[in-house]
Amino acid sequence: MHNLLTGSDLLIIMLSGFFMILFAGAYTLLYGLGKITKKSKYIKISYIFAIAQFTAALMMITPDFLDPFWKYIIMFSACAYLFIPQGMWWVVHTSHTYWERQENNKDV
């Protein structure tokens, strides 16, 4: 934290942080909706938010103010948010189908 901070740097970092998570959520929501309703339109729109999320993260690290360590953390989470929807979908879907099959076998 050695670099000097200006008012506009602060605004940029805070607002981009806000939008980064907000867009990550929007991406996840739309991706999930697209999958569940089987409408690829939602999934396509969701990728716009994925890009927006990543862009917000890049904006966060543009001012000189943050040290490299922090910039890495931010970019690491930005990458993680890119794959959360797919990853979580896989987890939830796999466990649902697995357990539903178990339940059905029991009923027979």
């Binding site: 008012g7 805070m14 990550a24 959520g25 999930g32 569940i36 360590f69 989470s77 939830v92 466990s95």
Partner: protein
């Protein structure tokens, strides 16, 4: 069992929820009072000062949320274990002791507003730790009540010889939650040490043990509302516990930036709490999947919609609003501004108030429609739902604008001087926001009133209800 087919434990759960919801009303009234005092500081000055109203507002919040959680557990416990709760008489006694103690504490706050900072005050008036200000005698009482509650839960599970995954997680979590409370009970003369342990209670409650607790309550609720199979909610719960504890425990460090704790907390706190939104984003997928997989077919619409509100509210309040101010480089400027209050309102409402309301609707259905023959629904709950959400979002938005103005004008540009402080306070973004907060607070309060009316009336008139298709009537 009672005439509605309720276990005694469920009756007790209901009492807890009723007591909680009444206290929620008191919380809101004090909120409106102190919001008005922000605008007109002379109002009731000397009679009911801001600091007292604030104490009552936030302590009522903590207590009512806990009452609701405990109520939810007494409610679901017999369903999970298939038997009446062990030691239920003692549990009921504890309830009355707790309600009496809370009443006395509130009266003392109201009647003795000023006094010396000595041992007598600490034991009998106020222990002086924000959010958990109960004097020490009441603290000890609370510990006893919680021990009885833990005994009820653990003894029932043992007696039933059936430990489900959810109950296993729940018991471990409750023991941790109760144990943490003790950390907030020891007076030390060193304010850094005092704050250090105080945050164990506050942060490790709301960002670790409470999150897991509502994870359990949500799992139980989903099994009821959507009939989601147990294995699925349990698998999900384990993952959630792993992610929430993994990031939330050391995320504690985001409160150790400026209180005199060693510098390494800047790195630890910033790192882990920056990752805290990850599980909250992941939960969105879970909510959508479950809702979609069942095509929104539910036995209880208001409960289901409050469960959605929970998934999204938790993400917004804790995830988006928390992350925005959690890096030490940012927090150095935003610390203690209205941004903290903005985040606090959104997160507590989204994560915890929504949970309790969902459970309240589940309880009411059992009272009015014990056989689950109907889809539980009404017109009024939608109004309450919308008004409460608009109210809270409006308040949070206003506070966020004010917080940005403070962070920018007072801190970043003005360098935190006295004049800079005054400039920020007088800035329209700050001054007008306080009016907006009050206005939206009223909207929230109207929503609360409608919620209570709805809880008292929903499902009474069976003709208004949709009959559940025969095939879907619960087999349980």
């Amino acid at each position: 069992m009672t005439k509605q087919g309720l276990y005694e434990s469920q009756k007790l759960g209901l009492w807890y929820m009723v007591a909680g919801l009444i206290l929620f009303g008191a919380q809101n009234l004090f909120g409106l009072l102190i919001a008005y005092q922000y605008i007109n500081p002379d109002f009731l000055f000397g009679l009911l000062d801001f600091n007292i109203g604030r104490i009552l507002h936030i302590n009522a919040m903590v207590v009512w949320l806990l009452l609701g959680f405990i109520g939810a557990i007494y409610w679901f416990l017999p369903i999970e274990t298939g038997r009446e709760t062990v030691g239920i008489k003692l549990g009921k006694l504890a309830f009355f002791v707790l309600v009496a103690a809370v009443t006395v504490v509130v009266l003392v706050y109201l009647f003795i507003q000023i006094g010396p900072g000595n041992q007598i005050s600490l034991w009998f008036i106020n222990e002086g730790r924000e959010y958990i200000e109960a004097p020490r005698w009441a603290d000890i009482g609370i510990v006893v009540v919680v021990l009885i509650f833990l005994y009820n839960v653990i003894a029932t599970v043992i007696a039933s010889k059936r430990l489900t995954g959810i109950m296993g997680v729940l018991i471990v979590d409750l023991v941790a939650l109760a144990g943490l409370y003790l950390a907030g009970m020891f007076y030390t003369v060193n304010i850094s040490v005092d704050q250090y342990f105080w945050w164990w209670v506050i942060h490790l409650w709301v960002e670790a043990t409470w999150e897991v607790l509502i994870g359990c309550i949500m799992a139980l609720s989903l099994m009821y509302v959507l009939k989601t199979p147990r294995k699925i909610v349990e698998g999900w719960l384990y993952l959630e516990v792993f992610l929430v504890f993994g990031t939330g425990i050391l995320g504690l460090g985001h409160h150790y930036f400026w209180i005199g704790t060693p510098e390494y907390w800047l790195g630890i706190g910033g790192f882990f709490s920056a990752l805290e939104p990850l599980p909250l984003v992941a939960m969105i997928i879970h909510a959508i999947y479950d809702a979609g997989a069942h095509k929104l077919r539910t036995v209880n619409r208001p409960a289901l919609f409050w469960i959605f509100a929970q998934a999204f509210g938790n993400f917004f309040g804790a995830g988006v609003w928390g992350f925005m101010q959690t890096l030490p480089q940012i927090n150095m400027y935003s610390h203690g501004t209205q941004l903290a209050a903005s985040h606090g309102h959104m997160a507590f409402f989204g994560a915890y108030v929504a949970t309790n309301i969902a459970v309240a609707y589940i309880m009411v259905q059992k009272l009015r429609d014990p056989e689950e023959k109907y889809v539980f629904d009404s017109k009024l709950w939608k109004w309450a739902y919308v008004l409460m959400i608009i109210g809270i979002v409006g308040m949070v938005g206003a506070l966020m604008v004010a917080g940005f103005a403070q962070t920018e004008i007072e801190r970043a540009v003005g360098g935190s001087g006295w004049q800079a402080y005054i400039d920020a306070q007088l800035h329209p973004w700050m001054a007008e926001a306080m009016w907006w907060r009050l206005g939206f607070g009223f909207i929230f309060f109207i929503g609360y009133i409608l919620l209570i009316i709805d809880l008292l009336t929903i499902g009474k008139n069976k003709e208004e209800l949709e009959v559940l298709p025969e095939a879907e009537v619960s087999h349980a």
